[in-house]
């Protein structure tokens, strides 16, 4: 309808814009999606550089500072501006409860940037020992507090994000491939093949997801390498979620097959294979991406749940789920509430993916 066709400021721009360009433009206009993209970008980049950002590595612990509350960073010492620093910690016993309490003393430990610390491989490639920040010898900087073994929660959170953020991604990619392949075969061949694949999908979908994931992960052997555990977990996660995607692909396949432009291509003499490649696949690629993006939050929760129950990632590797394992009891949360911080990270990531997925979905159909 002439009245409702939008006129962009630069018409030619709009006319020459392909589907992807239009989709990208619409996505950027969606406010929540924009914010989510920034948040996710920040999270993934910091996961990439986690070893650099974290002042301590995975194995560092100090039993002297078990369950230390978050370290306060001060700027002024006795009225003078000293730059960021932390006080030393003395251990005392509370008279009545006999519980350990931590009190700041007078010793000043300056916060330094680009300090030398424990060695690691940046991006898995370069050996270095520089960290973003740290404190002078003798001081401890536990920005998010410490756990029951005196390990820095802040470091472990960032290091854990490497696993918590990448497993869902890898899992989603596997689902994407499986879904595309099996859904495509199902939709294209129809008949018996379609029947069999659809029944398999139905059986898998009817199983409750998280219990199935937990059952499968309980079967992972106890003493295998971290990498293998990681692999098993991603496979388990994508085991069921490909079904949802396959259905979407098949449905889109079947609906696009009946569009007039497909018949026009057939009449023009284009081969079936080329029709699939050129006309059908680009048609549902957008939907597939949206679906995959919306699958990721459930995988994050899946991995977190598995690790929370001790079934997923094992020590010394860590993920947010492992960190949350320590929050299982009320007393632990009541006495050491900072242990809940990884929870907010999970919530933030899940929300960000959800909003991004929403934005993608809204942007995916620029023609209708």
């Amino acid at each position: 309808m002439a009245l409702f066709k939008k006129k962009e400021k630069n018409n030619e721009d709009y006319y020459l814009a392909s589907q992807w360009t239009l989709m990208g433009r619409k996505l950027v206009k969606h406010r929540l999606a924009r914010i989510s993209m920034f948040i996710l970008g920040f999270l993934y980049i910091s996961a990439l550089f986690a070893n650099f950002i974290a002042p301590y590595n995975l194995t560092a612990y100090d039993s002297k500072y078990m369950n230390l509350q978050p370290t306060k960073v001060h700027m002024f010492h006795e009225g003078n501006f000293e730059g960021p620093f932390v006080y030393g910690i003395d251990v005392e016993r509370d008279a009545k409860t006999k519980q350990k309490i931590y009190v700041e003393n007078d010793e000043v430990y300056k916060v330094q940037f680009f300090v030398k610390g424990s060695e690691y491989k940046l991006l898995g490639l370069f050996k270095t020992d520089r960290h973003l920040f740290g404190v002078e010898e003798g001081g401890k900087i536990f920005l998010f507090g410490a756990d029951s073994m005196g390990r820095d929660l802040f470091s472990r959170m960032f290091l854990g994000s490497q696993i918590s953020l990448t497993i869902p991604f890898v899992g989603a990619s596997i689902s994407f491939i499986l879904g595309l392949l099996l859904g495509g075969i199902s939709g294209y061949f129809g008949g018996m093949v379609d029947n069999v694949i659809q029944r398999v999908i139905e059986v898998l979908s009817s199983l409750p997801t998280i219990p199935l994931w937990m059952a499968l992960s309980a079967a992972i052997p106890a003493n295998i390498s971290v990498v293998k555990v990681y692999l098993y977990i991603t496979i388990i996660l994508s085991f069921i979620s490909w079904t949802g995607l396959a259905r979407v692909v098949r449905g889109k396949f079947i609906s696009l097959r009946n569009e007039d432009f497909v018949m026009a291509a057939k009449l023009a003499g284009v081969t079936d294979f080329k029709i699939i490649l050129k006309h059908l696949v680009p048609g549902f690629l957008g939907y597939l991406i949206v679906n995959v993006t919306l699958e990721i939050p459930s995988m994050i929760i899946g991995e977190t749940s598995m690790s929370f129950l001790g079934l997923g990632i094992r020590s010394p590797a860590t993920s947010w789920g492992v960190l949350l394992e320590e929050t299982k009891t009320i007393t632990s949360i009541a006495t050491y509430p900072w242990r809940l911080i990884p929870l907010f990270a999970v919530i933030l990531t899940v929300l960000a993916f959800n909003f991004l997925g929403d934005g993608l979905r809204d942007a995916a159909d620029p023609y209708k």
Partner: protein, 332 residues
């Protein structure tokens, strides 16, 4: 075959599922001469779109043959040839679709859309030559060739229909099936596209099969018209003769129902009782007998075949020769 370019013989199309068999097209036969426009009209469920798609082999007919005389003079049965021959002959029979929005792949540029048939049939043609042909065709249908790098969403309904026409013509076919090609367009744009189709027909010596529900448009553009009811062809005649004096009761009722764009010339409508029967469960005998005011016993048991009449038309009615039906009297 004489000077007929297309002879459609006894086409049937049945859609079967486990319990139901829908007879979309039943025993349709007619012929077209080179350069003619054959109109096919009917209401919803009459099977005209299915017929069109069977003829171009967009879908496969259950039975029947389509004798087609190709450019090289050979006669082929288009519905029953092997894949290799079909690839060769298919270029000469093309289709224009109804919906300007779903008939163009929104993810391809207009240039790609028009060139796609060339790429599929002449894989060795150099790009420059393809571009030139595409631009040429675009200009012929009234599109500005400099707009070819745009995507379909940049064009209006009428322009998109022109793109569809360019795509159908780029292979230089002889026969084009227009499946409700102007139905989705505004009246003034319809006129533009109809004029375009007529011009192209003259220029490229095309034969059209014009499928439509709009009788005014069909009367304007067609040399001969076929009326379909519930999958069967009930009458096939020269346009002037049919509209002036129909010979099948359904044709008469159909013509009388069309509102004339002139308040002083409204026709007395022949009322049709009842509704169109379910194509999965058609009545016995003549499909139209339940609603026909001339129905006799024979009509309830025996289905009439298409019979040739003295003036050259074919009608499927037991009482065709004896009925005196009314049509439009032309302005003098």
């Amino acid at each position: 075959m004489g000077d007929y370019i297309l002879q459609v013989n006894h086409i049937h199309k049945r859609f079967t599922s486990k319990k139901v068999c829908v007879r979309a097209v039943t025993d349709v036969s007619f012929a077209a001469k080179k350069g003619e426009t054959i109109g096919i009209v009917g209401e919803s469920g009459c099977g005209k779109t299915t017929l069109g798609r069977c003829i171009v082999r967009g879908i496969e007919a259950s039975e029947g043959s389509v004798l087609y005389t190709a450019k090289d003079g050979t006669e082929y049965d288009f519905l029953n040839i092997d894949k290799k021959t079909m690839k060769k002959v298919r270029k000469e029979i093309q289709m224009i679709f109804q919906d300007p929005y779903s008939s163009l792949d929104p993810r391809m540029t207009v240039l790609d859309i028009i060139e796609e048939p060339l790429k599929a049939n002449y894989p060795n043609m150099p790009k420059a030559e393809m571009d030139a042909k595409a631009k040429d065709m675009a200009a012929k249908v009234g599109l500005n060739p400099s707009y070819l790098m745009r995507y379909p969403h940049a064009f209006s309904g009428g322009q998109r229909q022109r793109i569809g026409i360019a795509r159908a013509l780029v292979l230089e076919p002889q026969v084009i099936v227009c499946d409700e090609a102007v139905s989705a367009l505004d009246v003034s744009i319809q006129a533009q596209v109809i004029n375009l189709l007529k011009d192209l027909q003259k220029e490229m010596d095309l034969t059209y099969l014009f499928i439509s529900h709009d009788l005014s448009v069909v009367e304007h553009i067609s040399d001969k018209v076929g009326v379909m009811y519930l999958g069967k062809l009930v009458e096939f005649a020269e346009t002037d003769k049919m509209f002036a004096k129909p010979m099948h009761p359904y044709t008469e009722a159909l013509l009388s129902a069309v509102p004339v764009a002139d308040p002083s010339k409204q026709m007395e409508r022949i009322p049709l009782t009842g509704e169109i029967p379910n194509p999965a469960n058609p009545p016995d005998g003549c499909y139209f007998h339940q609603r026909c005011r001339f129905c006799i016993d024979k009509c309830t048991t025996e289905a009439p075949d298409l019979e040739a009449m003295p003036d050259g038309r074919t009608v499927a009615c037991h009482r065709a020769k004896e009925l005196d039906l009314g049509g439009f009297s032309y302005d003098e």
